[in-house]
C-alpha cells in the first residue's frame, strides 16, 4: 500500500515543480537551474542502482491500488526496457538542465515557467515508462503532450511558437485519444489494464474480432507521438521551443515514447502480419521521407528535426522487423533487428543530443541558425566544431563512433530481412535494404551539411548579428559528455550489451523465442566482408559525391514542390482552417454568453430528468390520510409569505424589493418558531437583521431596478420554467413524504436524541449535532465563511484601476 521509492521518483518532479517558483522569486541571484539540477541527478543515481538486478533478468514490481474496482492501479513495472528509458530520461535530463543554465539568461527569461514545465515533463515521462498499468500510462502520456506543448509555446509572444505548440497538441493529443480507445478495447478483450496480464493473454487478444481495430488505434497513438509519417509534421514546428527542450523532449525522450509503446506492446500484437507491415512500412517510409527532406532544410534545427523523424522511422522499422522475425521463427533476423533498435535508440540520444546542443551554441553565439548565413566558424569555435564533427560522423555512420555500429547492425538486419520467407517477403523483401540504402545516403549528406556548411567555407560576418566566439564552458560540458559517450560506446559497445541492451531486448519479448531462455548480445565493429560493410562503403562514396554536387541536383526539391513546406502541412492547415470556424459556430449556438440561458438549460434538464424518473418508477404520490387540522394562524402566515414573495418580481423600487425580501425572511423565522425549532428561529432572526443591514449599507451603491424591456417570449419562457420548477419541487416534497409514511422509515435522528446526553453531555440536541456529532461539517462551514469574507474584502479593497474591465481596452 505504501509508496515505494520508485513511486516517489515519479511523483517527486511534480512536487518539486511546485516549489520552483519560490526559488525563482526568493533567490533571484542564483540561476534557478542549479536547484533544479539536484533532483534528476538523485533520480539518475538511484536508477543506476537497479542495473545489477535488472541485468540478471529480474523485474521490480511495486503495486499501489488506485481505483481497484476499475482495474486501474498505480503499479510500477521496472524491467530492462523501462530501466533503459528511465535512465535516458533522468540522465539526459541532468545534462539538458546543466546546459539550459547557460542557455537561458536568468534576468531575461521566465525561468520558473520553464523549469516548472520541464519537471512536469520529467515526472510524466518517468510515469509513462515505469507504469505497469495502461490507464496510468495513458494519463502520464497525455501529461507529456501537455508539457511538450507548453514548452514549445514557451516564448508565447512569438506567432510561430504558438502555431507549433497548437500543432503538436492537436496531433499528439488526438493520437492519445485513439490510443485510449485502443486501451479500452484491450480491456474489453482481456478484462485488465495491467500490461503483464494482457501479455499473458496473447492468444485471447489474437483470436478476438477486435484485434485489428485495437492495434490500429494503439499504433495511432504511438505514431503521432513518435512523429511517424504523416503525423511527423508537428516535430519541425516544435523546434520553436528553446534548444534545451528540443534536445531533451524532441529528440532524446518524448518522441521515443511511441517507440517505447510499440516495443512494450510488441508481445501482444506482433503475431500478425498486419503489425509487421504497418510498423515496418510506416517506419521505412518515415526513414526515407525524413532523410530526404532534411537535405533541403536551411535551418540547423530543422535539419535536426527531420533527421530525428527519419531516425525514429528507422528504429520503428527495426522493431517491426524484429517482431516478425521472432514470431516466424527466424532467430538471426529477430536478434539482429531488435538489438539494433535498442542500441540505436541509445546512440541516437547521445549523438542527436550533442548536435542539438551544438545548434543551440551556434544560435546563442552568432544569433542565427541559418546555414546560408553561417560558415567558417571553425576558427572561432574549435571545441564546438570538434563536438559537432564527432556527433555528425556518428549520425552518418562512420567508423569508429557508436552510430557506425548500430547503422551496420541496421543494414545487416535489413539484408537479413530478405531471408524471411513468409509474409510476402519473398517478393517484397528487397524493398528493405533498398530503402535503407537510399535513406542512409541522404543521412550522410545532411550530416555533412550540418558540419561543413556551418564550420567551414566562407566566414560571412556581415550576415551575423554578433561576433562569434567560443561558448562558455558550462554550455560545452553537456555536449562533451555526450560525444564522450559516442566515442566510448563506439570503442567499447559491450559495456552496454549485457547491462542494458540484453535485459531491454529480453523485456520486449518476455517469452522469448521458443526454447531460448537467455541470449547473448555481443557487438563488434568487424564482421568480415558482409553485405552490410559493402553497403556502408558505397553509402560513403555516393554520399561524398552527392554532397559535392549538391547545388546541381538540389533543384529537384523545387521540381517536386517540396521547397516551401512539407506537403502534409497543406492538409493540416486546410483542416484547421475549415474546422475552427465550424467549431466556433457550433459552440456559439448553446454558448450565448448570457447567464440566464445557462440557468435555463439546467432547469429544463432538471425538470425533464426528475419528471422522467418519477414517472418511470411510479413515484408520484400524495399522502392525504392523516391530515391534521391546520391552525388558522399558520394559514395566515403562509398566505402572507406567499403574497410577499409573489409581489417581489413586480416591484420596481429597490428599497421596497429589499424590504419585501427581508419580510419573507422574518416570517420564515416565525414559521421556525411554530415548528419547534428555537435555534433556527433565533439564527434566522439574527441573520435576517444583519442581512438587512448589509443590503441597506450597500443601498447607495446598488443600481436602480429597471423595467426589463425584453421580448414576450423571453418573459413567458421564464414564467413557464419558474412555474415548472415550483410544481416540481412541491411534487417531489409531497411524493417523498408519501413514500416516507408508506414505508415507515425510521428517522436516524433517534440516535442523536438517545445519545446526545450520554455521549456528548448536552441537552440541546441541535447544538450537540453541530459541535460534536457532525463537528467536521461545522468546521468546514466556518472555513467557507472565512473564505467568503476574505473574498468580499478582496472585491472591495483590490482596485485594478479599471483593468478588470474588458470593455475599456
Amino acid at each position: 500500500m505504501l509508496l515505494s521509492l520508485l513511486h516517489i521518483a515519479i511523483i517527486a518532479p511534480f512536487l518539486f515543480a511546485l516549489v520552483i517558483p519560490f526559488f525563482y522569486k526568493k533567490i533571484p541571484s542564483i540561476h534557478t537551474g542549479w536547484f533544479v539540477l539536484i533532483l534528476p541527478t538523485v533520480i539518475f543515481i538511484y536508477l543506476l542502482t537497479f542495473i545489477p538486478t535488472i541485468s540478471r533478468g529480474e523485474t521490480v514490481t511495486q503495486l499501489l491500488p488506485w481505483v481497484p474496482s476499475l482495474g486501474i492501479n498505480f503499479d510500477i513495472h521496472l524491467d530492462g526496457l523501462a530501466l533503459l528509458f528511465s535512465l535516458l530520461i533522468s540522465g539526459i535530463g541532468v545534462l539538458v538542465i546543466l546546459y539550459s543554465i547557460y542557455y537561458l539568461d536568468k534576468n531575461k527569461e521566465s525561468l520558473h515557467n520553464f523549469y516548472f514545465y520541464l519537471m512536469m515533463f520529467m515526472g510524466a515521462m518517468l510515469g509513462v515508462v515505469l507504469s505497469g498499468n495502461l490507464m496510468v500510462l495513458y494519463v502520464f502520456w497525455e501529461l507529456t503532450s501537455l508539457s511538450s506543448a507548453l514548452l514549445i509555446g514557451y516564448w508565447y509572444d512569438r506567432e510561430k511558437s504558438r502555431y507549433g505548440s497548437l500543432k503538436s497538441m492537436l496531433v499528439t493529443v488526438s493520437g492519445g485519444f485513439s490510443m485510449l480507445a485502443g486501451f479500452s478495447l484491450l480491456y474489453v478483450i482481456t478484462g485488465t489494464f495491467t500490461i503483464t496480464e494482457i501479455i499473458a493473454q496473447v492468444d485471447t487478444v489474437a483470436a478476438s474480432g477486435l484485434f485489428i481495430p485495437t492495434m490500429i488505434l494503439v499504433l495511432l497513438g504511438a505514431f503521432t507521438k513518435s512523429a511517424q509519417f504523416p503525423f511527423h509534421i508537428w516535430l519541425p514546428d516544435a523546434m520553436e521551443a528553446p534548444t534545451p527542450v528540443s534536445a531533451y523532449l524532441h529528440s532524446a525522450t518524448m518522441v521515443k515514447a511511441g517507440i517505447y509503446l510499440v516495443a512494450r506492446l510488441s508481445p501482444v500484437f506482433s503475431g500478425s502480419s498486419e503489425w509487421f507491415w504497418i510498423v515496418s512500412g510506416f517506419g521505412l517510409f518515415t526513414l526515407l521521407w525524413g532523410s530526404f527532406n532534411a537535405v533541403r532544410q536551411t535551418d540547423l534545427k530543422s535539419i535536426l528535426a527531420y533527421s530525428t523523424i527519419s531516425q525514429l522511422g528507422m528504429i520503428m522499422s527495426m522493431l517491426g522487423l524484429g517482431s516478425a522475425a521472432a514470431f516466424y521463427g527466424y532467430e538471426a533476423g529477430y536478434t539482429a533487428a531488435t538489438v539494433a533498435a535498442v542500441f540505436h535508440l541509445i546512440n541516437h540520444s547521445t549523438f542527436k543530443g550533442s548536435l542539438f546542443m551544438v545548434a543551440g551554441i551556434v544560435d546563442h553565439e552568432t544569433g542565427t541558425r541559418d546555414i546560408r548565413k553561417l560558415g567558417g566558424l571553425m576558427t572561432f569555435m574549435p571545441i564546438t566544431f570538434t563536438i559537432s564533427i564527432i556527433g555528425a560522423f556518428s549520425m552518418a555512420g562512420i567508423y569508429p563512433f557508436n552510430g557506425f555500429l548500430s547503422k551496420e547492425m541496421f543494414l545487416e538486419s535489413m539484408v537479413e530481412a530478405t531471408h524471411i520467407t513468409s509474409l510476402n517477403m519473398a517478393s517484397l523483401g528487397f524493398i528493405f535494404p533498398l530503402v535503407a540504402w537510399i535513406a542512409s545516403v541522404f543521412t550522410f549528406i545532411y550530416s555533412m551539411i550540418l558540419v561543413f556548411k556551418t564550420f567551414t567555407g566562407n566566414y560571412q560576418p556581415e550576415k551575423l548579428d554578433k561576433k562569434p566566439h567560443e561558448a562558455p564552458i558550462g554550455m560545452l560540458i553537456p555536449p562533451i559528455i555526450l560525444v564522450g559517450l559516442v566515442v566510448i560506446f563506439g570503442f567499447f559497445p559491450n559495456i552496454l550489451a549485457h547491462s542494458i541492451i540484453e535485459p531491454a531486448v529480453q523485456s520486449i519479448y518476455p517469452y522469448g523465442l521458443t526454447g531460448v531462455e537467455h541470449f547473448d548480445v555481443h557487438i563488434s565493429p568487424w564482421h568480415g566482408f558482409t553485405p552490410a560493410l559493402f553497403m556502408t562503403v558505397s553509402i560513403v562514396a555516393v554520399g561524398v559525391l552527392m554532397y559535392l554536387t549538391l547545388t546541381k541536383w538540389q533543384k529537384i526539391y523545387t521540381f517536386l514542390r517540396l521547397h516551401q513546406k512539407d506537403p502534409v502541412n497543406y492538409i493540416y492547415d486546410g483542416i484547421v482552417k475549415r474546422v475552427v470556424p465550424v467549431a466556433k459556430r457550433v459552440t456559439k449556438v448553446p454558448e450565448t454568453g448570457l447567464l440566464r440561458d445557462y440557468l435555463a438549460y439546467m432547469y429544463i434538464f432538471l425538470i425533464v430528468a426528475v419528471v422522467f424518473t418519477l414517472y418511470h418508477f411510479g413515484g408520484f404520490a400524495i399522502e392525504t390520510a392523516n391530515v391534521a387540522e391546520i391552525p388558522i394562524y399558520v394559514w395566515v402566515i403562509v398566505a402572507v409569505i406567499a403574497a410577499a414573495a409573489l409581489l417581489i418580481p413586480f416591484l420596481k423600487n429597490r428599497v421596497t424589493a429589499i424590504i419585501a425580501t427581508s419580510f419573507v425572511g422574518f416570517l420564515v423565522a416565525l414559521l421556525f418558531v411554530m415548528f419547534r425549532a428555537p435555534d433556527l428561529a433565533l439564527t434566522q432572526l439574527l441573520v435576517e437583521t444583519v442581512t438587512t443591514a448589509l443590503f441597506l449599507l450597500c443601498f447607495y451603491h446598488l443600481p436602480e431596478l429597471r423595467n426589463e424591456k425584453s421580448k414576450p417570449t423571453f418573459k413567458w419562457t421564464n414564467v413557464i420554467i419558474s412555474i415548472g420548477v415550483g410544481v416540481l419541487v412541491t411534487t417531489m416534497a409531497l411524493s417523498s413524504l408519501a413514500l416516507k409514511s408508506k414505508k415507515g422509515f425510521e428517522s436516524i435522528a433517534n440516535y442523536f436524541l438517545e445519545n446526545a446526553h450520554d455521549f456528548a453531555g448536552g441537552d440541546n440536541v441541535v447544538n450537540v449535532i453541530l459541535v460534536d456529532f457532525r463537528g467536521m461539517d461545522t468546521m468546514f462551514e466556518i472555513l467557507v465563511l472565512g473564505i467568503a469574507a476574505l473574498g468580499i474584502v478582496a472585491l472591495i479593497k483590490l482596485k485594478l484601476n479599471g483593468k478588470e474591465d474588458i470593455n475599456e481596452k
Binding site: T587, A645, D679, R706, A756, V765, L770, E781, A789, L795
Partner: protein
C-alpha cells in the same frame, strides 16, 4: 400541514427561479435569498413538522421534533448569509466597474 408548507415551498422556488432568470443583478441576488428560504423549509418539512417538543432534552417531553434537519438548516442559514453578502458585493462592484447591471450587456463573447 406538510401539504400546505410544500405548496408554500413551491411558490418560493417559483419566484426565486423567476428572479434568477431575469437580467437584473439585484433581482438575482434577491432570488438566491428566496431560494435559500425555500430550501430550508424543504429540509425542515422532510423531517416532519410539529410532532413533539423542541429538541431540548431538558424539557423531558415524550417525543421531540427531528433535530437533524434543524442542525443542517442552521449550517445552511449561516452559509447562505455568507453567500448573499458575497453576491451583494459582487453586484455592486460589477455595477460600479461597468456602469450597468444588465446581464445582456455584461455577457462575455466568444470572440474576445
Amino acid at each position: 400541514m406538510e401539504i400546505l408548507i410544500a405548496l408554500l415551498i413551491g411558490v418560493l422556488f417559483s419566484v426565486a427561479t423567476y428572479l434568477l432568470l431575469t437580467k437584473s443583478l439585484l433581482r438575482i441576488v434577491l432570488g438566491t435569498v428566496l431560494l435559500s428560504h425555500g430550501a430550508h423549509l424543504l429540509i425542515l418539512t422532510m423531517g416532519g413538522l410539529g410532532q413533539g417538543a423542541a429538541p431540548l432534552l431538558g424539557q423531558e417531553a415524550g417525543s421531540y421534533t427531528d433535530p437533524l434537519p434543524q442542525a443542517l438548516i442552521l449550517t445552511a442559514i449561516v452559509i447562505s448569509f455568507g453567500m448573499t453578502a458575497l453576491l451583494l458585493v459582487l453586484t455592486y462592484r460589477t455595477y460600479k466597474a461597468h456602469q450597468t447591471d444588465d446581464l445582456d450587456q455584461l455577457r462575455g463573447r466568444l470572440d474576445e
